[in-house]
Symmetry: C2
Subunit: 254 residues, 2 copies
Amino acid sequence: MGKTISLVNQKGGVGKTTTVINLGASLAYYEQKCLIVDMDPQANATSGLGLSNIYPSVYDILVKEANPREVIRSTDTENLKIMASDISLVGAEVELVQTKGRETQLKRKIMSLKSDYDFILIDAPPSLGLLTVNTLVASDSVLIPIQAEFYAMEGLGKLLHTIRSIQRELNSRLTIEGVLLTMYDTRLNLSHEVTEEVRKYFGEKVYNVIIPRNVKLAEAPSYGKHIFAYDNRSRGALTYKELAKEVMERNGKT
Amino acid sequence: MGKTISLVNQKGGVGKTTTVINLGASLAYYEQKCLIVDMDPQANATSGLGLSNIYPSVYDILVKEANPREVIRSTDTENLKIMASDISLVGAEVELVQTKGRETQLKRKIMSLKSDYDFILIDAPPSLGLLTVNTLVASDSVLIPIQAEFYAMEGLGKLLHTIRSIQRELNSRLTIEGVLLTMYDTRLNLSHEVTEEVRKYFGEKVYNVIIPRNVKLAEAPSYGKHIFAYDNRSRGALTYKELAKEVMERNGKT
Ligand SMILES: Nc1ncnc2c1ncn2[C@@H]1O[C@H](COP(=O)(O)OP(=O)(O)OP(=O)(O)O)[C@@H](O)[C@H]1O
Ligand SMILES: Nc1ncnc2c1ncn2[C@@H]1O[C@H](COP(=O)(O)OP(=O)(O)OP(=O)(O)O)[C@@H](O)[C@H]1O
Ligand SMILES: [Mg+2]
Ligand SMILES: [Mg+2]
């Protein structure tokens, strides 16, 4: 049975999409069947893997009753598929508000896919609105990327509050998969201080692997490639491989 | 009459809040009366200026009919005030959907304030939802911060599309105030390439001033201070002073 992990943090630009793409690709290289679901209207996970002109997309599953299997696309990487997104997803937030069972739309649509994959990774937009609520309700666990900076820490209280209320009312089995420090710069005190703080707050949940700031990770999406296809020897590639190993270990997959 | 400028870009983490705070503070030092309106439920502009436990907040103006003047707070900086936000603003997106005139709530509430200030700067959340639509409808112009990276460029088409439809249907006088390159790293080709691209796309609208990546800008909010109170000699402080001068020149204020 596939494990559904969502990448959530309402703070913008903390590495949600970069982690979905490169953790997904790395798990695929370790022979794990992986599906990425792009729940962000910005569709960065979609374009970061080189896909465009998407129809049907995640929007059509949530609002138009399209068949989920029709929206799954292959990527250049074996074992890695994606349910792509596009800007029409902006409309889903407003259209879903009037729908009965608006929080459980995504969950109902992807339940039948779980047995086809080892991991389903969902990329959420930078907000705590209805698309993110759908993502949390559809997930077994949530992986929280945190940029080692002040604002990223600030929002954690609100994020945990949202996760707890989802656990209470809509998805009692939701757990925290892990907390990942991203864009870490060894030269900055700030990175070090925030890391100490995060380990105090989350303890064991914090991954041993820390993703460094590495320009290759920022360059790769402009070529529509994940880091392993763009520069397999970069520090970015090596640390995302380490992360995949740690995620697999924590899930008894090695 | 105060000019209302909103900081909008649905891409997360591109420097919207950092620009609102530091451009606002710098304009205040140049004797411009400045009001910051925090329209982001993350309330980063509010906490970045050292404020907390906010009641009443922007939420109370939009949804509860509170008097806008009661929500304006002073900061440690003369000529700089803020209309603070808190997490309750997340609820406004859903609550406003059912309201008549839902797109013009903010505009109606702050119109009476324009004559008290030289500049009103509005910080928007990283989305194109109802809070951002309210922000664009209430504004004379929009300042677009762009991080010199791939995903930040990707979203520009959608942002311009949204601005054009607001101009057509809700606010015909909305213009582009300017386009600001942020977190520029001189050592990266990526920064240079994106900058060329942005200048080709936006021409004159791109500010001559480019904000460099500077750790002092990331440290300052953890002390609840803008850059001039935290480290007035840093490159971050100098470039935001330059930016304020350029914004004033473009608005005939020098
Ligand atoms: N470790 C890293 N080193 C350098 N750049 C990075 C790293 N991780 C991500 N980036 C870059 O930083 C920017 C933000 O990352 P990304 O888009 O993955 O964040 P996000 O949380 O998905 O953003 P949003 O909130 O807008 O969805 C992107 O331009 C990305 O390429
Ligand atoms: N020029 C800079 N140099 C270094 N760090 C910066 C700079 N500008 C902003 N930052 C840091 O980068 C992060 C993102 O900036 P900021 O929060 O201002 O972006 P934003 O667009 O407002 O994000 P959001 O989309 O979440 O509202 C913050 O941690 C901030 O402190
Ligand atoms: Mg993203
Ligand atoms: Mg912000």
